[in-house]
């Protein structure tokens, strides 16, 4: 029954999303107040029916209803409850339904908050209705999660064990909250073009922030998962799928900054519109890359040409439509305020130039192999050095400028005063660089520079926090987010420059050394998990003659899925990770063991968390100050008079 219920709910959702699109777009006209009311009701209806469909699918997973094809292919009765639930989105069909659910949630938020006035809201709801129609058609015709299987098998095929992990259970919903969150900014931008509303950036800001926070957390979770699960000790591989999530983040970051200028001084208004369109387009392109199976990765669930084609058409329509609207209507929003070369606006402009350039480098590196393959059939891949030599320097230059921005005034700033105020941060940068040179070997130029920049960022943020006590929450939030960048930078530089690695084949009782640590191999025991059997290695961390701690890396075998997965053991001091992976059986009780010492590795994700906290603070600081500030009201009058 639940399968049919879900199916029917999806059909109702399709009907409602058509109403939502029609009524929402009609409501853009001042006179059509009734249509606006209908659009809001349809949006809430869409949320109810999408949630019902999602609930039905989740119920089918939890109760292991193998008469539904996606459940039979991606779940089984041996799986613990949490992975039965996360299995809902651990496959193509279910993940698309999750996407739709998140879209419906954002649309309901847009409709209920009604930011930016009824006409703008109505247009944004209409655009989101159009997106919902497209995704519902996609789900119903190419990726229906409720297809039946007759006869139903006794047992399901199970979920890829790599995905049976808490980090990866949470990673997709986070990332989708980010991708789809950008659809709200996109919808607001398109609606602003239709209405001619200059204040759209202020209306859309909470959604930009939500999307950015979710993307930050999603990327950090994915990177953390790759670190502890894949067993190579790396945290970022410049894999096309990782890049697909990084690109929207870079653009969302640029958008947050340029929208700030649009809100406060009226600069870059049309540019912010373009960024909103680009950000969501990159989300769609990311979905296409990940879901169409053109990439070899853990994310490509199935390669069905029809799906890839459908998403391509959707991308073309969304980007083409939005850009056409932009070309026709952008002039109605023009009339940006002028500013001096030394001003907050200039630093935000540079921020955008660097972020967009960095994104362009990632875009080229990610798509070049696909284009080359399509054109000439030559298969290539672009290695990490490409990114280290293009993306990294641009991002580094951006980080150098970060502390200056918040210290310059709008329209006209005082560079000398800003510079003087930053002397303590400069001092901290110098101390950080000297400390690194004096205390840690090997000495490397990049690590020293990175620590200097991290000191610069964190020092400036500390100054901000101290100086602006009791001031606007947004200033505090920006300081926190910028400090997070410094923390992540230290983590990246530390692990990259000072990681030590050892690989040995050990028999029971033998020892190995990695960095300052001595590890004794105490053999392997067979242990059983809920749905796997594991060879569990016992490694004693020695301190003189005593055992200080035990590390237990595993090789897990999942009989239901007939697959093996390694599970690393990590012991962290907060400043340094000791990381051990159990390798293959070499006979006579001997095993290959790989161990790493990664200095500052936890800082990589800690920094991400700090950035996200900054975003959250900014979001709540803003929701409290919903009424437009008087300065802006005066300014929009001035602009209307122009």
């Amino acid at each position: 029954m639940t399968g049919e219920l879900g199916q029917v709910a999806l059909c109702f959702a399709l009907a409602l999303s058509l109403v939502m699109a029609g009524a929402g777009l009609a409501g853009v006209r001042q006179a059509n107040a009734a249509a606006r009311g209908i659009a809001v009701s349809a949006t809430l209806g869409l949320l109810v029916f999408t949630a019902l469909a999602f609930g039905a699918l989740t119920y089918a997973y939890v109760t292991s209803d193998f008469s539904i094809q996606t459940v039979a292919n991606n779940s089984n009765t041996l799986k613990p409850l949490i992975y039965r639930i996360s299995g809902v989105w651990g496959n193509h069909e279910g993940s698309m339904l999750l996407w739709l659910l998140v879209l419906a949630l954002y649309a309901a938020l847009v409709a209920l908050l009604g930011r930016g006035g009824p006409r703008l809201t109505s247009g944004a709801v209409g655009i989101q209705g159009l997106l919902a129609v497209a995704f519902l058609l996609f789900i119903l015709f190419t990726s229906n999660p409720f297809l039946r299987l007759d006869p139903a098998p006794f047992e399901g095929a199970g979920l890829n064990p790599l995905l049976q992990d808490i980090g990866l259970a949470l990673h997709p919903p986070m990332l989708y909250a980010g991708y789809v969150g950008l659809s709200a900014s996109f919808a607001y931008a398109a609606a602003a073009l239709m209405v001619g509303e200059r204040g759209w950036a202020r209306a859309a800001r909470p959604f930009m922030l939500l999307a950015w926070i979710a993307l930050t957390c999603g990327i950090a979770l994915g990177s953390w998962w790759a670190y502890y699960e894949l067993g190579w000790g790396g945290f970022w591989f410049w894999d096309p799928v990782e890049n697909a999530s990084l690109m929207p983040w870079l653009i969302a970051t640029a958008l947050l900054h340029s929208a700030l200028a649009s809100e406060r001084s009226g600069a870059f208004r049309t540019w912010s519109l373009l960024l909103a369109i680009t950000g969501f387009s990159l989300s769609l392109i990311g979905t296409f890359l990940v879901r169409s199976g053109v990439l070899s990765s853990v994310h490509s669930f199935a390669s069905d040409p029809a799906r890839g084609f459908f998403i391509m058409v959707l991308i073309a329509l969304a980007i083409g439509g939005a850009l056409a609207l932009f070309a026709l209507r952008a002039h109605t929003l023009q009339g940006g305020a002028s500013f001096e070369p030394v001003s907050r606006e200039t630093t935000l402009l540079l921020n955008n130039v660097f972020l967009v350039a960095a994104c362009a480098c990632v875009f080229v590196g990610t798509l070049y192999p696909l284009v080359l393959d399509a054109v000439s059939g030559t298969k290539i891949s672009v290695g990490p050095p490409y990114y280290a030599l293009t993306f990294a320097p641009i991002f580094f230059a951006l980080l150098l400028l970060v502390p200056l921005g918040p210290r310059l005034g709008w329209k006209r700033g005082d560079l000398k005063a800003a510079w003087r105020a930053l002397y303590p941060a400069l001092g901290l940068a110098g101390v950080a660089a000297l400390a690194v040179l004096a205390l840690i070997s090997p000495r490397t130029v990049t690590a020293t520079l990175a620590f200097a920049v991290a000191g610069w960022l964190i020092g400036a943020s500390l100054l901000d926090i101290r100086k602006r006590k009791g001031a606007r929450a947004s200033a505090f939030a920006a300081a926190l987010a910028h400090a997070g960048l410094g923390v992540t930078l230290m983590g990246v530089a530390g692990t990259t420059a000072w990681r030590s690695e050892a690989l040995e084949v050990l028999g029971p009782g033998q020892t190995m050394q990695v960095g300052p640590y001595i590890l004794r191999f105490d053999g392997v025991a067979r242990v059983e998990g809920p749905n796997y059997i594991a060879d569990q290695g016992r490694l004693a961390l020695m301190d003189g003659g005593k055992v200080k701690a035990m590390l237990r890396p595993e090789q897990r075998f999942y009989p239901a899925e007939n697959q093996s997965v390694s599970d690393t053991a990590i012991r962290t001091t907060g400043l340094r990770d000791l990381y051990v992976a159990l390798g293959d059986d070499r006979g006579q009780g001997r095993f290959a063991i790989r161990a790493y010492v990664s200095p500052l590795a936890p800082f990589i994700w800690l920094g991400g968390l700090v950035m996200a906290l900054g975003g959250i603070l900014s979001l709540f600081g803003r929701l409290r100050l919903r009424a437009p500030a008087p300065e802006d009201a005066a300014e929009s009058q001035a602009q209307a008079a122009e």
């Binding site: 067993g231 298969k379 672009v382 290695g383 490409y386 084949v505 093996s564 992976a581 293959d584 790989r594």
Partner: protein
Amino acid sequence: MNSRKKRRLAFVLALVAAGGVLAAAVIYQLGQNTMYFRSPTDVATGQVPEGVAFRLGGLVAAGSVARGPGAQVRFAVSDGQHAVPVTFKGVLPALFREGQGVVTLGAVNGTGNFIATEVLAKHDEKYMPPEVVESLKRSGHWKEGEQ
């Protein structure tokens, strides 16, 4: 031309110049850092220069895996036509099995051995890396629906 227009022009020119430098850097670095994908047949027929890094994909030949000394592992990657001997020092991925698809990164040395720096196995039972499929297709050993 007033000073505001001049400034704007200067800014646009600077942006264009920076864009040009960036484009040049991107193109140069792409040229330096692309890794070609090769099949065992490409290697066996001498189409691959010595010492240049590339990706080799195919199936792990049955009975070819030999472990030791130490952490070293030797195996052969085959596309059904030819097999290339591979030497790797490291921990193999958990999904590494004889007869299954694998992609390795490395270069061929003077004696025709492929020295791998990285070994990637397919992620799950149902999934075959596109490079391996390509390799098998090229050698005519790919059956549709084999996955």
